[in-house]
């Protein structure tokens, strides 16, 4: 049996807000065909204030799917739709005192149901943008689809590359055979063959003798952020480059990354990656800490 926290068990054995809300005006229905879980979230939203007055769930799924649904309804009751949309799957997992890595997708389903319900209320169509694959790295909860996308997007060639880009395989290392299998498959499709001893992919660095112009720097930073984006989005977040002043990049972390404990780690990770690629010192700072008075002109004259 899974090592569920007491909170997960409590929400499973005594679910809150089970059943459909009568007279609901926002309904979200999502599911994961492979995993078999499915969730219908019904909300009653106050049309004047956009406050969620009632929330109910119906779930076909395992213990943690039911617990995630239950805790989600508790979290969002009383929130405005805009605030509710900021609830990330990590928030849901955190509220449950954590979920086993194999079960994180249950919290993702909760967040998606919420987005779908809000879209339904607003008369929009909600589309799921993330595809879920078999869990490969249990230490960092990275699935096959994520790894495959990163291998394609960044032309990764070795297990080490994959670990550097996704963290997968950076823990107990038991999944290295599975990662090699993914590499073998993708490399074959790319017309190459897998060589475990290949050098790590070059991060086009060092050679840049001349210091970068600000425009070059911005372009490169954008490229790096683009390459990291799939991973951030898989975690329910995103990053946006707001401003670059000399060697400081101001970014906006949105979605799950925003405000979550992981943000500091994520920012450090982005900074590390930028320095590797640009071959110069780069400091990444949340845009909220950008000195208000500094304009571009002032900065460039500083």
């Amino acid at each position: 049996m899974w090592d569920y926290s007491e909170k997960v068990k409590d929400h499973f054995f005594n679910p809150k807000n089970a059943g459909a809300v009568a007279g609901a005006n926002a309904i979200g229905e999502v599911g994961s065909i492979s995993c078999g879980d499915a969730l219908r979230l019904t909300l009653k939203v106050n049309e004047d204030t956009e406050v969620i007055e009632e929330a109910g769930f119906q779930t076909f799924g395992c213990g943690s799917a039911i617990a995630s649904s239950s805790v989600l309804t508790e979290i969002i009751k009383g929130m405005t739709l805009d605030d509710a949309l900021k609830v990330s799957n990590q928030d849901i997992a955190q509220e449950l005192d954590g979920l086993p890595p194999e079960k994180m997708h249950c919290s993702v389903m909760g967040r998606e149901a919420l987005q779908a319900a809000v879209a339904n209320y607003r008369g929009e169509e909600w589309k799921d943008d993330h595809e879920e694959g078999a869990l490969i790295c249990k230490c960092f909860a990275i699935d096959a689809v994520m790894i495959e996308e990163m291998v394609w997007a960044n032309k990764l060639r070795t297990v080490e590359d994959v670990t550097n880009f996704t963290k997968a395989g950076g823990g107990c290392a038991a999944c290295h055979e599975d990662i090699e299998n993914i590499l073998e498959r993708v490399l074959k499709e790319r017309g190459e063959s897998f060589n475990p001893d290949a050098a790590p992919i070059e991060t086009p660095v060092v050679a840049e003798k001349k210091p970068l112009t600000n425009l070059q720097r911005i372009k490169k930073i954008e490229a790096v952020l683009d390459s990291l984006r799939p991973q951030l989005m898989a975690d329910g977040g995103d990053v946006e480059l707001v401003e670059v002043v000399e060697n400081t990049a101001y970014v906006n972390m949105t979605g799950a990354c925003n405000g979550c404990q992981m943000a500091a780690m994520t920012i450090a990770g982005i900074q590390q990656r930028l320095m590797e690629v640009l071959g110069e010192f780069i400091k990444v700072v949340p845009a909220s800490q950008m000195p208000k008075l500094v304009t571009i002109q002032e900065a460039s004259h500083a």
Binding site: F12, E29, G36, Q58, C62, M109, D128, L135
Partner: protein, 402 residues
Amino acid sequence: MPDIYLDNNATTKVDSAVVDVMIPYFTEQFGNPSSIHKFADGVARGIKHARSQVQQLIGAEHDSEIIFTSCGTESDSTAILSAIKAQPNKKEIITTMVEHPAILNLCEHLEKEGYTIHRLPVDKCGRLNLEAYKKLLSDQVAIVSVMWANNETGTIFPVVEMAEMANEAGVMFHTDAVQAVGKIPMMLKDTKIDMLSISGHKLHAPKGIGVLYLRRGTRYRPMLRGGHQERGRRAGTENSASIVGLGKACELALEFMEYENIQVKAMRDRLEQGIVEQIPHCFITGDLENRLPNTTDIAFEYIEGESILMLLNKAGIAASSGSACTSGSLEPSHVMRAMQIPYTAAHGTIRFSFSRYNTMSEVDEVLKVMPGIAATLRKLSPYWDGNGPVANPEQAFQPVYA
């Protein structure tokens, strides 16, 4: 009521008579059976006795056809790897879609190395098509490996007949009989089965002991080479205590064979009939006419297996499920998929597997709590409305799938 254990296909309790015969091999007769002193002189005899106890249970012609291994998985791997090593020119393997991962994952691995794997499909009741099987038999096939009984549904395959067919085509035949040995009678000397796998912990012996039956004269290549143990066919100092324990367990299984097929079966039958009568929208999976006497696998529609297990566990009842979530994979069991059980039912399958330690009053206890569990979870299910599934569940609830 003390906790009720209905997960005997996963593993069994070691019989206390088995524990008793094992103890001296830890404390007094702990010597290496190859040594020549008094700490060892009873060990070789103990092992020899165990070998004949295993031989009796499976009806092997010679006791030297019994090779002790470390588990069912090792026996499975040894059998298949031996067959392909001994016949390097044959590049095909026939197996089924519903084997245990001990066979399936090995075959998948061999596929990458260039072997052609034929995985026989099953019908909705989990049965094989022997005509299709016959067409695949050829001089290109190194080995056929077909389980005797399925661990999830208990469905029994006609391995005796399939071994005859393989033999006629000159093809080696292996069966993973881990779930069948000790539950149904067998007489290997009257069959054409060349190799057969046993795992001790499924029949009240300890975990970590297994057997590979190897018909005399079958071409063989060991997987572990080293010392002369098991006549050089499986090197490594004997796990003497467990071997002796397995011998005793086999003797007991033979003694209880009739009990298993009458009393244990009666408990199983009462449980599944009771459940199907009391709970709407559930059905028994597998080949109802050809099943192990101790196993029933029931699909509860519109609810999910892990949730059911958690509620059963709270009520002190241990069973298992073919749902994706219990295994940590994303797919429901490959056995359920092979039988084309719809997702909403496959995820809600629960296997109850009995042993001679169970009682009818335990069955009654399960029958008391199961309807409430199904009702509780159905109340939460988006596919359920009041007293039945929503009309046209597939249309009424259409989630956006990732």
